[in-house]
């Protein structure tokens, strides 16, 4: 979850008093308040609006939403055009094509950095890396002090052993390959490069390495300080369109703190591209579609106003989209923004007069009946996790043969899907040895079974009685079959789970098919679970029962 933390003082100075009404407005803009103190207000930024991750951009967009004059409509900043004499150029070498093919760049001057602003810029970068950049995989941003760089810049991929520079906050010069194992950023993001023969680098005209994207900048040419007045900004990655927008988000943020933006010429072979590119995209919108989807009766002028509050421009049934918006894929995305501008609180909720027939799942109805029968006998229903531990499922029950289905990379010791309910019933009894007896419990739920590499999910029923004996358990199954008007058969079998006492357990069949077992639990298993009461237990697969009854 991405959070934008705003100083309360700054907010109240730029936007207005942060009272209950204002708090509500912030939430209604689609940036819910996560935390609020006397110093700070933390708002959540949803993944579709990375452009709001910098305070400057948030402030401007929110003021527009509030309808502040001069703030609505498309935001424009001036870009100084490319001047061939000044070498504001980045040459993209063919070698990057297979590693990290694209970059979008800009130069920003007239900046006054203080510690807070440096922190803010680093913060925006980090957040954009985490969100839109997909942890730097899709896109990464670099910002460099222009004073330390000799233009033009070259973006190319070279042999990692031949890359040599002092990475940011590192004591000495090392090679590109060494960065992956020695620098903290290398260890974290190294996997993004380690499978390539060549690593991408930005190199300036005096052959100085600026950075090795998406891992790390150079300490010498890639560190913003309070002395920095002019910066070179690059975004590298795999989708030029996204990179351009990412660059625009940064540019708008830097412009907000007084930066003057200069265009750069990107030489992709014979092709020249100028970035930043703030040309708004245009998308058609139909008033009918808006009103139909929202259930409103807006006029053209209404949607024009709404769109302007959300930073768009509306002209001739078309919408101009700000060049930093990454989330507008379809007309519905515009319609949502119209709804936000209209105010979610202003909609009149209504239920249409349509007739449909409600119906519960038949199997669920039968399961509920079974539960009712058992609670009628005084049994208590329990509910356990579908995931379980090897210790409970296999070791304590001493079941040697299980084909447990494992889940990958579980964050807890619960890393297999439960194979039966029985072990959970015993676990529950073991965790309640201090509670008054008798403890008579049941559970209905799914278990997972692997059959020739196919995982099957089956509804099971298990009952455990403590103290309990075979007769008592059999009485319950007899009663259940009578109430459900079906026939369970208790038969002798050689295939009884090892956790029962031999000779005091049986197989339960239904329609001549084995569906489970019933019996008294062996004291060695009770010992494993530290249960000091005799336990009778049964477990059956109720899939066929549910099918027959529904």
């Amino acid at each position: 979850m991405a959070i934008l933390s705003i100083s309360r003082k700054q907010f109240e100075k730029d936007i207005g008093k942060l009272d209950e009404k204002m708090e509500n407005k912030v939430a209604m803009f689609g940036t819910p308040i996560e935390a609020i103190t006397n110093e700070n207000i933390d708002v959540e930024i949803f993944p579709n609006r990375p452009d709001l991750l910098s305070y400057g951009n948030f402030k401007n967009s929110f003021l527009a939403f509030l309808g502040k004059s001069g703030k609505t409509g498309l935001r424009k900043i001036k870009i100084e055009p490319y001047n061939p004499k000044k070498n504001y150029e980045v040459i993209i070498d063919k070698s990057v094509e297979k590693v990290r093919p694209y970059t979008a760049c800009a130069i920003v001057k007239n900046l006054k950095f203080d510690d807070n602003k440096i922190k803010e810029i680093i913060d925006i970068q980090e957040k954009l890396h985490a969100t839109l950049g997909r942890k730097r995989k899709k896109a990464a941003i670099g910002i460099y002090p222009l004073e330390e760089i000799k233009l033009p810049i070259c973006y190319k991929a070279i042999d990692p052993d031949r890359i040599k520079f002092q990475p940011l906050e590192f004591p000495r010069e090392i090679t590109g390959r060494q960065i992956l194992s020695q620098h903290p950023a290398g260890r974290e993001y190294g996997f993004l490069l380690e499978n390539y023969d060549m690593y991408p680098v930005f190199i300036d005209a005096s052959n100085e390495v600026l950075s090795m994207p998406p891992i790390i900048n150079s300490h010498k040419t890639g560190k913003i300080t309070r002395e920095t007045k002019e910066v070179f900004v690059e975004c590298s990655g795999f989708d030029l369109n996204i990179l351009k927008k990412l660059l625009n988000i940064i540019i708008f943020s830097l412009a907000e703190i007084g930066g003057k933006v200069y265009s750069m010429n990107l030489k992709y072979g014979n092709k020249n591209i100028a970035t930043p590119d703030l040309t708004p995209e245009s998308m058609k919108i139909s008033l009918d579609n808006v009103n139909k989807l929202l259930g409103l009766n807006l006029k053209e002028n209404d949607i024009k106003k709404c769109l302007e509050k959300m930073g768009y421009e509306y002209k001739n049934k078309s919408v101009l989209i700000p060049a930093y918006r990454t989330d507008i894929l379809h007309e519905v995305d515009l319609i949502e923004d119209i709804a936000i501008a209209y105010g979610y609180e202003n909609f009149m909720p209504k239920i249409p007069q349509i007739s449909t027939i409600g119906e519960q799942d038949k199997k669920e109805v039968i399961k509920k009946k079974i539960a009712e029968i058992l609670t009628g006998l005084g049994l208590l229903e329990t509910s356990s996790y579908h995931l379980t531990t090897i210790d409970d499922q296999i070791k304590k029950t001493e079941l040697k043969e299980t084909n447990a289905v494992e889940v990958m990379d579980s964050k807890t010791e619960y890393n297999i899907l439960r194979n039966d309910l029985a072990h959970y019933m015993l676990k529950i009894l073991s965790e309640n040895v201090d509670v008054e007896y008798p403890q008579e419990i049941f559970q209905l739920g799914k278990i997972f079974h692997q059959e020739s590499n196919i995982i099957k999910e089956k509804e099971h029923l298990s009952i455990a009685l403590a103290p309990g004996n075979f007769t008592k358990a059999k009485q319950i199954i007899d009663y259940l079959s009578k109430m459900l008007n079906i026939k369970f058969n208790i038969v002798n079998s050689s295939k009884i789970p090892g956790y029962f006492i031999d000779g005091r357990a049986a197989e339960i069949t239904f329609n001549n098919k084995s569906i489970g077992h019933i019996g008294e639990i062996h004291p060695k298993i009770l010992n494993n679970f530290k249960i000091k009461m005799p336990v009778a237990l049964l477990e059956i697969d109720i899939e066929d029962v549910l099918r027959e009854l529904s």
């Binding site: 379809h330 007309e331 209504k350 007739s355 119906e359 539960a371 049994l379 229903e381 964050k411 995982i455």
Partner: protein, 509 residues
């Protein structure tokens, strides 16, 4: 005899009458001894007499330190360290030899070694165990051995050296058992003294239990019934009950069906296709990482279960977009969609339902209630399983105002009168909305769940046409925790029988 004393005598149970003659000595152990009753029965009788004002009963507790199972054994055979000492006294041997010859278990051996090292009675040199103190010193009983001989002892009266020995032994497996013992004292009251003097034989003809036999032959006639102490506490009983989560999910089912929704059901294990791709969640979306979602290291063959047209439509929606959408602009990979996951939301059921819905029979309304999963740690506010409920409305004329109408009605039935809607984001809905409910006691807005209208990139591939589908999928656990006043998420699955027995029923609606 006063009337009062007479009634008291008539209310004495046989067991109370039986111990009455032995009360005078005011010693519980003697009462047991002379009456021949067991401890529990005698104590119950005393409690009855106490409530009748015949005696004043004082029950206090004492911590007794005694031998555990291993302790009893060691008292006979000697502590493992003594056994080890005997061995080393004969010859110094290596660690392996010592363990083998001493026949101690690995745990015992380690404990013995530790204990002797701590006392500096041995030392390890070149992997050999050597005695480190004179023989006469070794022959003496250690503090622990003396302590074991002295048990049982009152915990509160342990001397410092006994406490020291206790702490050393306590860490080791089942040598020591500390149990609580009841100390029972009483004195006979003035009233008691009078009753004791009375002739109790008149009470012997009182009817104790009315039996079917007595009713049949009429032997009760002309006799009196022993009076009961109708005020006294009776042992608690508990009824059978549904688990509280089941009670609530059953209620949710009732709410949905009342509103005309039909239940969808399905597996907990889903292909990524239904869980993510069909819901327009790009394949590089962070939710699709193992960090967040449980993957099963297994794939299914999509083409086997799913109409190839649907697969191709979904692919197109992701890659280039569909019905005027730009799509996510990347190469969609079928193999990625084939990975099996534990469903992260019940919305996957909605997607599958849409792919099967009969477009000629609209409107249709469906719901689901069920377990969902995410790869999370386990603590008071996190868990890897949660309950979700989900509803969809497929209706050519459905719109956002309708969505809010359904939501308002649904949450009202779930017991939340004051709700608010605010903008939100989900990859598969647009517009999206979050539902906050107002908590009147805590005076805060609680976030209860997301909703929205499915994006055309979701509906078109599945339905073949961009029909509006309203969808909402509130998490259920928060409502449950609020209702049952559960603070710790783990309590939802703890199966604490005491808690389950005492928990109130779900009464709503």
């Amino acid at each position: 005899m006063t009337q009062n004393n007479k009634e008291i005598i008539e209310s004495l149970s046989p067991i109370e009458r039986k111990i009455m003659p032995y009360l005078k000595e005011q010693n519980f152990d003697l009462v047991i001894k002379h009456s021949g009753e067991d401890r529990v029965t005698a104590l119950r009788a005393l409690e009855f007499l106490n409530s009748k004002g015949i005696i004043n009963l004082h029950i206090s507790k004492k911590k007794i330190v005694d031998l555990g199972t291993n302790g009893i054994f060691y008292k006979k055979k000697g502590l493992p360290e003594r056994q080890l000492l005997h061995l080393i006294e004969k010859k110094s041997c290596s660690l392996e030899e010592a363990q083998k010859e001493s026949k101690l278990s690995q745990n015992e051996f380690r404990a013995a070694l530790g204990a002797l090292k701590k006392k500096a009675m041995i030392e390890l040199k070149n992997g050999k165990i050597m005695l480190n103190s004179p023989k006469n010193e070794i022959a003496k009983k250690t503090l622990e051995e003396t302590f074991i001989d002295e048990l049982p002892l009152d915990y509160n009266q342990l001397k410092p050296e006994q406490l020291f020995a206790l702490n050393n032994l306590r860490e080791r497996k089942e040598i020591i058992e500390i149990r609580e013992e009841q100390i029972i004292k009483y004195e006979v009251t003035e009233l008691g003294k009078q009753i004791i003097k009375e002739d109790l034989s008149s009470a012997e003809s009182l009817i104790e239990e009315l039996t079917p036999e007595m009713i049949k032959i009429g032997s009760w006639k002309g006799k009196k019934f022993r009076r009961y102490d109708v005020i006294s506490q009776v042992p608690r009983i508990y009824g059978g009950k549904r688990h509280f989560v089941s009670q609530a999910t059953d209620y949710a089912r009732k709410v949905w069906t009342e509103m005309g929704f039909k239940e969808m059901s399905g597996e907990l294990i889903m292909s990524s296709f239904w869980n993510f791709d069909a819901l327009f969640t790009a394949q590089d979306h962070p939710v699709r990482e193992m960090q967040d979602t449980f993957f099963l290291n297994k794939n299914i063959n999509l083409n086997k279960d799913i109409d190839v047209k649907v697969i191709n439509n979904v692919k197109q929606a992701h890659e280039k977009g569909i019905v005027g959408s730009k799509g996510w602009q990347y190469k969609w990979d079928e193999k990625t969609a084939e990975k099996l996951v534990l469903r992260t939301h019940t919305t996957c059921l909605s997607a599958r339902t849409l792919s099967k819905a009969d477009k000629n029979k609209l409107p249709q309304k469906y719901f689901a209630v069920g377990k969902c999963f995410r790869n999370e740690t386990l603590d008071w506010k996190h868990g890897f399983e949660f309950n979700q409920t989900e509803g969809i409305v497929i209706d050519e004329n459905a719109n956002f105002a309708h969505l809010l109408g359904y939501l308002q009605e649904f949450f009202k039935k779930m017991g939340f009168e004051k709700i608010r809607f605010r903008p939100s984001y989900f990859p598969y809905t647009e517009p999206s909305v979050e539902i906050d409910v107002y908590h009147p006691e805590k005076k805060i807005w609680l976030e209860l769940g997301g909703a929205g209208i499915f994006r055309p990139e979701v509906t078109t591939p599945l339905l073949g046409k961009a029909i509006p589908v309203l969808a909402w999928g509130p998490g259920f656990d928060r409502m449950l925790m609020d209702y049952y006043e559960i603070k710790d998420l783990r309590d939802m699955y703890k199966n604490d029988i005491k808690q389950l027995r005492q928990m109130k029923l779900w009464i709503k609606g």
